[in-house]
């Protein structure tokens, strides 16, 4: 035990003496949370629209007014077909609404009136959202005309459904509530996997590991002494990040923080095990960094943080079952937004324990073999 104490003391001295370490611990999370949480917003506003109005009547004015007052669209310019098309090509317009000649006349006569919507689909998800917004606004407009302007009686009106939405667990559809917990997972992951692995490899690079290998330090002491500091720092980081989330974004804490920390504590064992494993077959910090990055970028992109796992192809969904990051992203959102407790998260916790056991066993086994 005393040996571990001396190793820990040395590690903390070295970690905090490293000038880049304090900024990594305190500045990086704040910057990441502030920048990423505001930047990764799935709600799209200010889509720029070109309107080509061949009709120019009262009703086309009303339609335009409704579209532009929705808050989702800003008028780029009202122009001709050709110019609008150029705007689309030049990326200055995201979509074009074309109102045909005789729009009002067709409308008044009760004939079918058509408008055309052209959407720039270079960014697929943006195009989908733009089309969706525009359609729902047009649909609404359409219904109102039929109801009011055509002066139909309530009874005569064509029956239609009015769907009312209510978003549970995140009523305001606040994307920050959704993103911030996920970003915290990434932060904790980086510290767990990156810093721990690089720290061990650094001893190899400096040659000090040789010196340690001739001392009576046991491998097991060495590993604990090396990993424990990052376990502590990462949990601290999580607490710090949650605090920033609370203060800046007024993050909801529907569930108990205890579950989050319990899960994080086990999750970190997985990440530290990954760092340790990578450190056993790399010789320099650079190698360790590249290999860790290779694994992490896959794990993070496939974690459901940015794109929902449910919309991935089937084979990719199967892969995510082996992705520890995906579990933590899921659990932290469940606990924070939905208030999930032990019964809901325990199966994920068990999976995480299994991951931690397997990964660390392989890492320690490999470590013994090489050193």
């Amino acid at each position: 035990m005393r040996t571990i104490f001396f190793i820990l003391q040395k590690e903390f001295l070295q970690i905090f003496r490293n000038k880049s370490m304090l900024p990594i611990i305190f500045v990086v999370p704040v910057v990441q949370l502030l920048v990423l949480a505001f930047a990764t917003n799935y709600e799209i506003r200010n889509l720029s629209i070109d309107i080509v109005d061949h009709d120019g009547g009262n009703w086309s004015q009303q339609l335009k007014g409704k579209l532009l007052s929705s808050g989702y669209f800003t008028l780029n310019r009202q122009t001709t077909d050709k110019a609008a098309f150029d705007d689309l090509e030049a990326n200055t317009a995201d979509l074009i609404l074309t109102i045909p000649r005789h729009f009002e006349r067709d409308l008044v006569r009760g004939n079918e009136a058509k408008v055309q919507l052209l959407v720039n689909a270079i960014n697929g998800s943006k195009a989908g959202l733009a089309a969706g917004y525009a359609q729902s606004i047009l649909g609404d407009f359409n219904r109102r005309i039929r109801m009011e302007w055509l002066a139909l009686d309530e009874d005569d009106a064509p029956s239609h459904f009015d769907t009312s939405f209510r978003y549970w667990f995140n009523p305001g559809l606040n994307y920050k509530f959704f993103m911030v917990p996920g970003i915290l997972v990434v932060l904790v992951t980086l510290i767990g996997a990156f810093l721990s692995g690089m720290n061990i490899v650094k001893e190899k690079e400096m040659g000090t590991i040789e010196q340690l290998n001739v001392t009576p330090i046991r491998k097991f002491h060495f590993i604990i002494g090396k990993l424990l500091p990052f376990w502590i720092i990462a949990l601290f980081e999580l607490a710090f990040g949650l605090m920033v989330g609370k203060l800046v974004f007024n993050l909801p804490f529907a569930g108990s923080l205890g579950w989050i920390f319990l899960f994080a504590a086990v999750y970190l064992l997985v990440m530290l095990g990954l760092g340790l494993l990578i450190s056993t077959f790399t010789e320099t910090q650079q190698q360790a960094m590249f290999i860790t990055w290779f694994f992490l970028i896959i794990c993070i992109l496939m974690s459901g943080l940015f794109t929902p796992i449910e919309s991935m192809p089937g084979w990719a969904q199967h892969i995510t079952q082996f992705n520890p990051v995906a579990y933590f992203v899921k659990v932290i959102r469940m606990v924070m937004l939905k208030g999930s407790g032990w019964v809901d998260i325990r199966q994920y916790l068990f999976i995480m324990i299994a991951f931690a056991a397997v990964l660390n066993a392989v890492a320690v086994w490999n470590y013994r073999k090489t050193a």
Binding site: T3, R17, M206, G207, E210, P216
Partner: protein, 243 residues
């Protein structure tokens, strides 16, 4: 001679087809300064790493401080000190922190660590530099500090792997004073070097060529045997004969 500090019998290490250390057999007495010479790649470091328990031999027997190098490496590690050619202190720790760390992992008590630290700093005249980061020290001082830390737990044998590489002659001389001091206390010194003047300081030396020990005796006897005036000539005769 008292009990042997190191005995080896036909100690061999193979890496694939390459035989790095080929059936070397020798004895080192307790308290002896034993010079382990050889050209680069002759197998010195491999032999030393086996004796320190860092590398498992392919065949042969060896005992270090009375312990078997196959089965009792942990006991051996408790009894030996080691200083490698690659500088092995933590550059981002201070002098005192390095002493404390190595003292701690060798199981010294806090009181022992305190006494050793004061004693060591005083002997190396580093009292002023105790709180300086090791990276700020000149190389020669670092090497002396590394040696002092390698013997902080009073080992019975110290292995020194080219300890004075890149150090000026005056510091080398001071370094050897430290070695003599330790040897006078009964510590066995097992040292590799490329400096032939240092070879003359040893009680006995062995010269390795291509994984085998080609000569083993006192410097004076070797010079006589090879009809040479200096160890340099002895070394060149042996190393050249092979190449």
């Amino acid at each position: 001679m008292t009990q042997s500090a190191i005995t080896t019998t036909a100690l061999t290490k193979r890496f694939g087809n390459f035989i790095a250390t080929n059936a070397i057999t020798f004895d080192v007495a307790q308290g002896e300064i034993f010079g382990f010479l050889g050209a680069n790649g002759a197998g010195k470091t491999t032999a030393m790493r086996m004796l320190c328990g860092l590398l498992r031999p392919s065949s042969g027997e060896a005992r270090v401080a009375g312990f078997d190098i196959y089965t009792q490496t942990e006991k051996i590690k408790q009894r030996i000190g080691y200083m490698s050619q690659k500088f092995s202190l933590y550059e981002d720790l201070t002098v005192k922190e390095n002493i404390r760390f190595y003292g701690g992992i060798y199981g010294l008590s806090n009181r022992q660590i305190r006494d050793k630290t004061a004693d060591l700093l005083q002997r190396l005249s580093l009292e002023q530099e105790g709180n300086m980061l090791v990276k700020a020290l000149p190389l020669g001082w670092k090497q002396k500090l590394a040696f002092s830390i390698a013997v902080i737990h009073d080992p019975s044998i110290v292995f020194l792997d080219e300890p004075t590489g890149g150090v000026d002659p005056i510091t080398r001389r001071q370094f050897w004073d430290l070695i003599y001091e330790s040897a006078a206390k009964g510590v066995t010194i097992f040292v590799t070097t490329h400096y032939m003047d240092e070879a003359e300081y040893c009680n006995r030396i062995s010269i390795m060529v291509d994984g085998k020990i080609k000569a083993l005796d006192t410097p004076a006897a070797l010079k006589k045997q090879y009809g040479a005036d200096t160890m340099n000539e002895v070394f060149l005769q042996l190393a050249r004969a092979k190449s």
